[in-house]
Structure formats: structure tokens, C-alpha cells
Symmetry: C2
Subunit: 308 residues, 2 copies
Amino acid sequence: MKLVLYLQSKRRVWWRDHLQSLLPEIDCLLWEDCADKNAIDFAVVWRPPAGGLRQFKNLQAIVSIGAGIDHVLADPELPEIPVIRTTGAELTQRMREYVCLHVLRIHRQCSDMEAAQREQRWRPVITPPATRRQVGIMGLGKLGTDAAIHLTQLGFSVSGWARSKHTIAGVNCYHGEQVPEDFLKRSEILVCLLPLTPDTRNMLNTNLFEQLPSGAGLINAARGEHLVESDLLAALESGQLANATLDVFRKEPLPSTHPFWTHPNIVVTPHNASLIDPLSGGAEIAANLRRFIRGDLIADLTDTKRGY
Amino acid sequence: MKLVLYLQSKRRVWWRDHLQSLLPEIDCLLWEDCADKNAIDFAVVWRPPAGGLRQFKNLQAIVSIGAGIDHVLADPELPEIPVIRTTGAELTQRMREYVCLHVLRIHRQCSDMEAAQREQRWRPVITPPATRRQVGIMGLGKLGTDAAIHLTQLGFSVSGWARSKHTIAGVNCYHGEQVPEDFLKRSEILVCLLPLTPDTRNMLNTNLFEQLPSGAGLINAARGEHLVESDLLAALESGQLANATLDVFRKEPLPSTHPFWTHPNIVVTPHNASLIDPLSGGAEIAANLRRFIRGDLIADLTDTKRGY
């Protein structure tokens, strides 16, 4: 069996070698080294080129090197075959760290504290305990559920919203097609961990911001396309939002002239909230491919119609 | 019965009124309003003046407005009567937030990320997952134990050291008079939550820093007197420590000319890691005083010989 790897990164040779060592029974090739496209059974990809995958006539499955599959579904000529995502313990662990860190940063007013240090001023800020701080999580998949559980353990008052029904101990879970007004009304810190689909694209917009409590904080660790950038700038300008922490952007790397970089109330992180570590990620990919070959159940098999 | 309140804060009138509303059966007086010192039964204090408390000949108990009693024991003429500290859920909750926030900040290399944003540079830093990051907690009292539990839940690999033996699920607990070499050797991020006693004073010094892994991070949220300030500056200079987050100082407020304010690798917070909230703290104080009057067991009764 043969596998082709597509990844626009200098590390792709390392990845290929690593997958090869984990899957000795499969011949692992780089996209550019693949002479006989009809011989390829599997494609392991990050942001594959449009129209690229349909050239592999005998492809059985596509593996996304990441939890989201939006970068695969973006191909209008995508073959209708199974798409398997890559999640795994480390991806969840890293996102847990990012969300807890940045919710705590906003909660404890870290930017005020940092400004006070720069001014060499002793200015104790007293924030309410987390038990009186309401956090809302949009998206209750693997990452959102884990973040909600850990924020609850830290003491926060946590709500969550997802399209389908979820039950998480200690978390006030909402569900339905629309984001409920009640959920937004109580979210002093809103965290977006939604999959990117036609329904969720541009969801972080003026209409949503206006339903949050005045002075709310926003964290987007999902996809840049969830956010209407000009609406965020307007909401920060009016004070409806106090601050935003963004890990993802419509264009990545974020262009050096983009206004987000220098905005006093925006924290920019370079899409590193949660990365697939090649070591653990490679093992997850190998395990999922073996499950596929054996015909076993794959928890990471996605629903391409639904988009996640 | 009568109670006297000592607190060098503009909020002391509010505190007196608040305690009075919680303890209608006790006459609550400000220190400066107390004419008949012999009529006073209880003193509720923060940093009382040396020699001040012995003037109250019939004092039955002293209450520290805080978890530490070092500021009370600092009085060389302290009467030999029970000293009750004030802890409670909110103090623990707030310290949990502070410790988790600052451990995560160090773990995720936030200062590098912030520098990258200031330079408008997309520079993804990849940190190991918390499962591969070793955190050491010095002091396993109420605050230290709670912090250790929550860091473990976040995924960190946590060790703790205290003088007496502790057992905390998932935490590698050391005990004994001396800080064990093994404990220090593995602490990439060291958190001090010790009580201040003659044994722990100046414990954060060159000798201890040299036993940590090179490039370790330090968080001191206990007392300024735990730290030898010049030793910290030397350890940061040599690179033996990569950074320090300090909430407490030998002199508070930290003087505006102090080198810590402008040090690139020191985060200064103004002794607000965990504050006694007057609302919940007042209720804790009232509850402990009622327990004392009834002769009930008081978990917050301290051992003044031991110093905590």
C-alpha cells in the first residue's frame, strides 16, 4: 500500500520519514516524489491544493493533519471518500492549556497588571473570584468539552453551546441551530472552539457581540474565518468588547501591517494554541490508518456533509 | 464583648461596619476609637504595631486578616494567646487562579509571545505539553495543596515538598526538614507557598537556585522575606533562572526605583495573588470568632511556636 504526504513545511521530509518508521507496511511518499498517482491508497494532508486530491484515482481515504477538516473541504473537487481527522491527547492537552491560560489572563486583568509594571506603579487590581466569572464556550467537540471541564475545575462558572445536545457535569449546556441569547447574555468571556462550516463562518460578528455583556472578552482559537475582523475592531472601539485574544486569522501568517498586531486590546498568538506534535500526531495518524485498513471503528472519522 | 480592628487601609471603617453587621453581639471598634483597652476581648489585625497588642490586658484571641500570621508574630511583645488565621474558600480560589495562571504563562513562554507581538512577528513557539513539564510546589498547606491538585488536573507533572508528610493523589510528595535535592532537581517551575518562619526566611537563595534545572522559572506568592533579592538577580543574570514572577516583596509597596520593576525577566504583581475579600473574609472571621466563643474546634487556629 502507498501513502502520499502533502504539507507545505520544511519539516515534511521529517514527517515522511517519521510516518514511514511508524508504518513499515505502507510506502510513504512526498507529494512531489509521487510518479504513479494511481498507486496511492491514502493521502495525509494539511491544506492540500484545490483539485490535487482527485488526481489520485484509487485513493481510499484522506487524513487531515489537524482536528479541523475545513482546509480539506475547501477543495471544490474533493473526491467523495472518507476524511479522517487527527486529534489525540496532546492536541486536547495543548488547547486546554491555551484556553485556561487566556481565560485566566482576561479574568485576572493581566494587561492592566502589565501596564502597571511598565509604569512602575503598585496598583492592586481586585478581580472577583472565578466562581463569579461566567465563561461561555462555543463548540463542545473534543476540545471544547475538555476546556469546559477544566475551566469548571478551576472554579469558573461555565456554559457551553453546540448544535447537538451535550451533557457535561457542572457545565450549563445549550444546544440548537442558533446561538441562544441566554448563553451569550451571560458570557463575560466567550471562547470560540467551533468547527468552520458554512453555518459558523463569520459567526463572530457585530450582532453576536451586541448580545454579550458590555465589556466582554473574546478568545478565538478555532479558525480566522469565524471572525468578521472589522466588526471586532468596531466592538473594541465602542467598548462593547474589552479585549480579544486571537490565535487564528483569515490570512496566516498575519501580515505585518495588520492592525491587530498593534491594537492595545488584542493579544495575537501565531496559530500555536494547539499544534499536532509530529511525535504524538504521527502515532495517531498511523493508528487511524491501521484502524481504517482493518475496517475498525474510527472515532476521528468525520462527516464531510456536516463539515466536522 | 468587644473587638478592636487594626488595619492600615482607608477601608477600615467599611471593615468595622461590616464586621459589626455580621457580629451584632460584639461591639466592634476601630483601634483609634478604643478608649478602654481593658474592655477588649478580641483583636482583628493586619500588621499590628509592635507592642500594640499587649496593651489589651484582657485580650482572649488575635485574628489575622490573612492566611499568614508572620505579620502578627513579628511583634516581640506579643501576648501568649491564641492566634486565629483567616483562610476560606475565596482565598484558596484566588491563589489557585494566580498559581495556575502564572505557571501556564511560564510554561507557554508568554513573554516570548508578547515580545513577538510587539515586534509584529509571526514566530510560533512550540512548548512541550504540560504532561512533560515538571512543577514543584514548596509548602503543602491549604493553598499549596489546592494549587498542586489543580495543576495536576491541568496536566502538569507536579511534585510538592512540606515539612510534614502529605498525600495528594497524582502529586509526588516529599517531606522533611530540608528541601530534598530530588525535589529541586526536577522542578522546572518552582512555586513558593510556604509560611514565613525563621526556618523558611531567605530560603529562596543561590544555594537553592543552583539545585534547580538550568533555566527554571520561579513564582513567589508567599512572603517577600522568603527571597534573597540579590541572589535572584544573580541567578537571572547567569541564566540559572530564566524568569521570576513575584507577588510579594521585602518592602511593600515595592519602591518605584526597585530594579525588579524594569527587569525584563521579572513579572511584578502588587501582592494581589490572593486577597481576603471583605465580604467572604468578614464572614470567615465572624464564624471563627463564634467558634472560639463557643469553645468549638477551629481549623484556622495556628501554632504560634511553629509559626503557622
